[in-house]
Symmetry: C2
Subunit: 418 residues, 2 copies
């Protein structure tokens, strides 16, 4: 069986399973999630044995410590996976929800019903826990899943997938609701991205290279996250104590995350007062500062930023700083150099807050809050499969609702069009 035939077979099974899953009641899906969680715990030792094969192969291939660390499945890691599944089971089921059902002048009632997308293809790297997390979110939202993990985690992923299959079947659902591709041959990814007859949406999770490659090659719509170049703008009317706290938190709370601030914009009128104070706080964390000319004139320990710095996602203790004329200048900078992810204004001025919220073209726009809040859990989605920087369909943190769509429903009593 060649890759194309194999993918067709997987796709057909996924499509068939998705119809059953779409009609499944919440209790059955929750039972499956609970059973999978229990199975993962029960089989911790076996999962770790399988994981050890991947770690061994990884060491032989010379993977670095950070990659091996991401690949490792500890007993605590298995516990966390199981916990994640139980949390997803506890969320409300979005499928079947009917909204805005109202009578039209013709006498028909028109409304919208939330329904699964169908079959979701997930392409990811390293971390084996994605196998369980992604499968669980798709399952709860009524979607069948085709998973393609990295070759370095194939034994771990297959082992987790076996627990998922067993749990699904124990709950009376088809095991094919979640399928992990057998081979990690790269050509098979190509087949997956061209299987538009069977797959409704592709979600890539991993580094920028993977996401760009998937977006470029996919014939199927992609929900993706590219860069997180987030800004905090400290306005002339900011409460500078709050601004300092937020600017410090947004940069230093965690460095390697997409919602960390990468560029600090400061209104010229408060720069002399604000910058030295916040720079001293950054110094305690050894954050490297790269400022515009005006910034460097105020701060002594500051490198000169180049134009590239404004479009850089450092994911590191590095911060670009620019002094801007006013809010309009800040908004222009954000919409031009940012990645439409998350941007904050610090201001006590009502009108400016209102304008900033409207005019900044990002998936999350904030007033007086740290960019670090851009997150499915903080927003109350319960869980997230990623943060979309796309505009269509899902924008910002994507939870269960982002994995569904709305169809129209119409109720009549023999109504005909006149």
């Amino acid at each position: 069986m060649n890759h194309n035939e194999y993918m067709t077979k997987v796709g057909q099974k996924a499509r068939a399973a998705s119809s059953i899953l779409a009609a499944a009641e919440a209790a059955q899906k929750n039972q499956a999630l609970a059973t999978i969680a229990a199975l993962l715990i029960e089989k911790t030792t076996w999962l770790q044995t399988e994981n050890a094969k991947d770690l061994q192969a990884g060491k032989e291939k010379g993977l670095d410590d950070a990659m091996l660390d991401r690949l490792t499945l500890t007993a605590q890691g298995v516990e966390n996976m199981a916990d994640g599944l139980r949390q997803i089971a506890a969320l409300a089921d979005p499928v079947g929800e009917i909204n805005d059902l109202s009578y039209r002048p013709s006498g028909i009632q028109v409304g919208k019903m939330r329904v699964p997308l169908g079959v979701i293809g997930i392409i990811y790297e390293s971390r084996p826990n994605v196998t369980a997390d992604a499968a669980a979110l798709c399952l709860k939202s009524g979607n069948a899943t085709v998973l393609r993990g990295g070759s370095e985690a194939i034994h771990s992923n297959k082992a987790i997938a076996l627990c998922v299959k067993e749990g699904l079947e124990a709950a009376g659902l088809p095991g094919e609701c979640v399928q992990v591709l057998e081979s990690t041959d790269r050509a098979l990814v190509g087949e997956l991205l061209r299987a538009q007859e069977y797959i409704d949406v592709i979600i890539p999770r991993g580094g920028k290279g993977l996401i760009e490659r998937v977006s470029k090659d996919s014939l199927i719509p992609v929900i993706k996250h590219l860069d997180g170049i987030c800004h905090v703008y400290v306005d002339a009317e900011a409460d500078l104590a709050k601004a300092s706290d937020v600017a410090f938190n947004a940069k230093t709370h965690r460095y390697g995350v997409c919602n960390a601030m990468e560029t600090l914009l400061v209104s010229e009128s408060v720069a002399v007062e604000f910058l030295p104070e916040v720079a001293a706080r950054y110094a305690t964390k050894d954050v490297e500062l790269r400022g515009c000319e005006k910034t460097c004139a105020i701060l002594t320990d500051c490198k000169t930023a180049t134009d590239e710095d404004w479009g850089e996602e450092y994911l590191a203790p590095v911060l670009a700083i620019k002094i801007v004329d006013d809010m309009a200048d800040a908004i222009q900078h954000i919409n031009r150099y940012g990645s439409h992810h998350t941007d904050t204004i610090m201001t006590q001025d009502y009108s400016k807050a209102r304008q900033f919220l409207r005019q900044v073209d990002s998936s999350s726009v904030m007033v007086n809050a740290s960019t670090r809040f851009a997150d499915g859990f903080e927003y109350g989605l319960g869980a997230e499969i990623g943060i979309s920087t796309d505009k269509l369909h899902a924008r910002g943190p994507v939870g269960l609702e982002g994995l569904t769509t709305l169809k129209y429903i119409v109720l009549g009593d023999g109504h005909i069009r006149q």
Copy 2:
């Protein structure tokens, strides 16, 4: 200037205009729409002179009567265009609407704001009125537009576009909010479909060939409508008088529309009673019937359907008829052969209605109503740019809301992530 340079210039202008338009208030957009409507009426004679050039060229190229008819701009046609613009002006502005703003445990408030998509590319054929209709819907929803009409309508389209530009500028908005591509060279369409830096979504309007080509070549997300293979299923528990009315209306009210019924499914238990009666009504309209074997055994004046008939969008007085075992059989047929557009069950049974609504995977699912109701006006959207058979983003009739997206907004008071 080659096509690529030209497209870059158009794209940059569109992007710049879209920022201004996104922040424009409803009153200003409505004023532009009203002014454009007045200008179209005022310049009717000139529009018809320009239109005559297209008609002359069309006759020389040997376009058939139907195509020339679609191309013709009558005085009444101009009136209708202007009316359409005034109706769009009267609709509520969806932009800036804030929903679900609520406090989270951290103390921040999280909600969603409806915002424009940005720049919309529209690729269409023949009918010059699309130039005004599409531009108006995009304008009201705060999006800049790049229009590429057919070569056969270039003079008409450019003339309408000039009125649009003049109206925009009179209202203080950039004329570049709506741009019509100068050249109708096919290679320029390719450039448009690759301009993902400047265009956020592509909407093709026209025949299936155009839509398939655009979907295949576009690097930009496409909102599209492919087939309308709609079904009416007459259930064992149907009120047969209502079923006859709906089945007759869904087929014969208009033939060439996407929401006309193409296949009638009838439960075996009522087929002998139902089919001869409804067939007699179809006979009054000379509708050609193509039935499964069982149907042909009941109806005398009925051709035998082939497997191709179940997947055919006739757009003509032709109807495929199939007798099914039960509702499950009907749902399976619809999900397999249908185009996920619009499907109806005729039944008086509560549980079956509930199951059909949940299990049929179409953009509109109906109970006891004609498929002909699947329409933006009937659904209360006020106007529609098309009916999407996609699942992501917009599904079913697409009105102003489908041309917008939601961003998250977060309000805090110096809140930081712990």
